[in-house]
Symmetry: C2
Subunit: 146 residues, 2 copies
DNA sequence: CTTTTAAATAGGAAAATTTCCTATATAATA
DNA sequence: TATTATATAGGAAATTTTCCTATTTAAAAG
């Protein structure tokens, strides 16, 4: 993640503060799962986190990692990357378009956004490699779910 | 999908053309899986497609639907929406940022893109509901994989 | 229109991922 | 320290996806 970044301590304090105010218990396991994820720079899966944590917490269950991540995600302390639900979803390849997803009913709407297709990419990405395509994903709550 | 849209016939001809030129066999099952997905507007999962197709093709196996979608995806005739791999991946919630994914090694890089964060959304979305956040996903091939 | 053959399919089994169940343990509070 | 609601471990179960193999079929050749 590019700077400016919060320090680990700041992140841990945020978790602590949140638990206190929401009544969520700050268990050893939760703290460690969060800390491990906060330290990671590689967007790990639940299983990878579990494997890393088992070195320190040999009895930690995989279920706890899943549960903790889900709980923290509900409270926006953790983000799940790029997945809708459990099942993958498909579409016939069309011309360039983007997706608008209702977080409530999970319906996906396609739309065009030529202005986005055109804006230049950030300078900092020029050395990364070859970028082949870009996509915008919008989230919200559709009319019917409000 | 907003217009202009290709007609179903055009899409089917594209599939046919592709099969011919690539040596891929145009089986009845492939044609029907593709047709069903081309007609769908709801970005269905493999299982939903299978359920719909079973009305017409009672012996169609779920595995064939999965295999067909995977094959067509490899050739860019079908797109898988918003999933990286099989396992979900996580990160601690930071300030607004976006993702750049290497299609080869699957590494995810975070980056900032204030210009994107600022551009106005398309007019056509104003009646959809309440859009709460936007995210850009870039794909490509990183330096190390080239 | 047959024959040939490499590729694809059906169906069930297996693998992989995630969630559920329940007895036990623990954080927060009194 | 006692109480209690919540969280955990561990294994079972559910869900999603892929694999295996005998059979079928599309495409090409005769």
């Amino acid at each position: 993640m590019p700077s400016p970044e919060k320090s680990l301590d700041e992140k841990l304090r945020r978790l602590e503060r949140f638990c206190k105010s929401s009544g969520m218990k700050l268990t050893h396991q939760r703290l460690e799962v969060f800390r491990e994820l906060a330290l990671a720079t590689d967007h790990p899966s639940a299983e990878i986190l579990h494997r890393r944590l088992q070195l320190r917490l040999p009895t930690l269950s995989l279920d706890t990692v899943y549960r903790t991540l889900a709980t923290l995600e509900e409270h926006d302390l953790v983000a799940r990357i790029q997945t809708t639900e459990s099942q993958a979803r498909f579409e016939v390849q069309e011309q360039i378009h983007h997706h608008l997803i209702c977080d409530s009913c999970k319906k996906i709407v396609d739309f065009h956004w030529p202005d986005f297709d055109r804006i230049p990419l950030p300078e900092e990405l020029s050395s990364w490699g070859a970028i082949t395509h870009r996509k915008a994903i919008l989230h919200g709550r559709c009319r019917h779910c409000s």
